[in-house]
Subunit: 210 residues, 3 copies
């Protein structure tokens, strides 16, 4: 039973990870296409959006192999997805697809933020740094996407809460870990709390002052 639960949990994590990567990549496709980029631009921007946050984290933590080298199948997936997506992107902008992306992106934010925190924690970084690495992993893919597309990064532009959800989730993970709550519960709660907050923020139009 415990084993079933654990293997079910780990399957769920994989699914969330892949959904997160795909939705990050899709946001890259859409922005690159709206800038009239060609196939190379679409591929690079999608790749940077999906793996940029994790790569920056790995550089800062001096962690090798890089996430996308260690998980080459994901890198290939994004690559092939880009080849397939170019003719499909116009359809991705339709209302249903856009909603699906917003939801998957919220889960991706949750997944990658907590993943970043766990990596920093494993390397015995101070707790404040662990929280920051989580937020960097979650948001910097999108920041780099917007820099490549020559835009002020969306996450800074005063929409509904985004980085704040990641920040809160990372601290929940860190506090539960310090309280010796079982790992699985800690992971489950903290990964769930981020998309929950994000989707609530979108629904209820929560914004930061500024």
């Amino acid at each position: 039973m415990v084993i079933d639960l654990q293997s079910g949990m780990s399957t769920l994590l994989k699914v969330l990870e892949v959904c997160g990567l795909i939705s990050f990549a899709c946001s890259g496709f859409i922005e690159a296409r709206s800038k009239k980029m060609d196939l190379i631009g679409v591929i690079v921007v999608a790749f940077v959006t999906a793996f940029g946050g994790g790569t920056l984290r790995d550089l800062l933590l001096d962690r090798r192999p890089l996430y996308w080298v260690e998980n080459q199948e994901y890198a290939l997936m994004v690559f092939i997805l880009a080849l397939v997506a170019v003719p499909l992107v116009p359809h991705l902008r339709s209302a249903v697809a856009e909603k699906a992306i917003v939801i998957a992106d919220a889960f991706g934010l949750g997944f990658f933020s907590i993943l970043g925190t766990t990596f920093a924690l494993e390397m015995d970084m101070p707790i404040f740094v662990c929280a920051m690495m989580g937020v960097i992993t979650g948001i910097f893919g999108g920041v780099l996407r917007d820099i490549l597309c020559n835009e002020v990064p969306m996450v800074f532009r005063g929409g509904q809460l985004y980085a704040t959800c990641s920040f809160i989730g990372c601290w929940i993970y860190l506090i539960l870990t310090m309280l010796d709550v079982p790992e699985m519960l800690t992971l489950g709660v903290s990964i769930a709390v981020i998309p929950a907050l994000r989707l609530l923020a979108l629904r209820l139009n929560w914004k930061l002052p500024g």
Copy 2:
């Protein structure tokens, strides 16, 4: 007497370091606010401006822990400063505050340029690389700030001398070190020469050709 002088010197260095960080962070606040960013944008841009040059230097030199991980109290300071500064920023743009920032920024440039050079020197980098690491540490916080704010970096845009002051100061440090001038004197002179040149350049409107 010698000890007093040394401890006085080291206190002075700390004060310069904190002033430099604060003024770099403030230039980040001001630019982020002028782009209508929200609280997260202000925090990230301030953080990147204050620590971006040093982080790039640490990545290039493969130096760990990173400056802001090693000096977490500074990272926390910038973080808290950002939370406090958001309602105060309009006042920071007043004439007196702006003048204070220009002066503190000149000292920050001096402090961080020489700090970057000493780190490279400690790692036995070739002398030309030491000078470049100094300039990178001094100016790249501002360059990254302007990239995040979607501007052509200010330091390249042909105002009064800025990077040049850092470059001259770094070479003075390197030459005095090679001449075996006492460390304290070398540090004092080279850190002082950069803000002196910078403030003179502003006052006398020195510019590069171009």
Copy 3:
């Protein structure tokens, strides 16, 4: 005879390397000047264009010393070139010079792409990563140049094939290496194929869909 051929080959590689660096640096001068940057801007943008791709590759592969630290004479060359070029840049825009730069840039792309692939291969990276490191080394200097100049990177903007030539050349190198073709022939063919494809793409106006 064999020795002569090998030493001739290695001289040719050096010449290609220097031509590539100079042409990358020149494209930096021209873009920086068109943005009305001053001398510092021109120097930094030229430096980043020439060494940015290789530096990013070295950071990703955790390879030290960095390419421009190991080859300081090249770094100095770009530095001195920038000092000399500023008054000359207007002439560089004339038709003949621009043609020379396009050709040298094609060879630079070939040289640096294959150099990047060989470095990744030496570090036993998976083959897909080797190809990506080649493309990153070849194109990211130009990407960073355009980011510093606040433009959407040229390589993504749907002109004639550029990154694609690099990608094809890197795979040719990898396949020939796997087939145990002699190193010299492998290098020669794959470095030649990239500028050949690039110049054909320019002449025949080959573009990607998008």
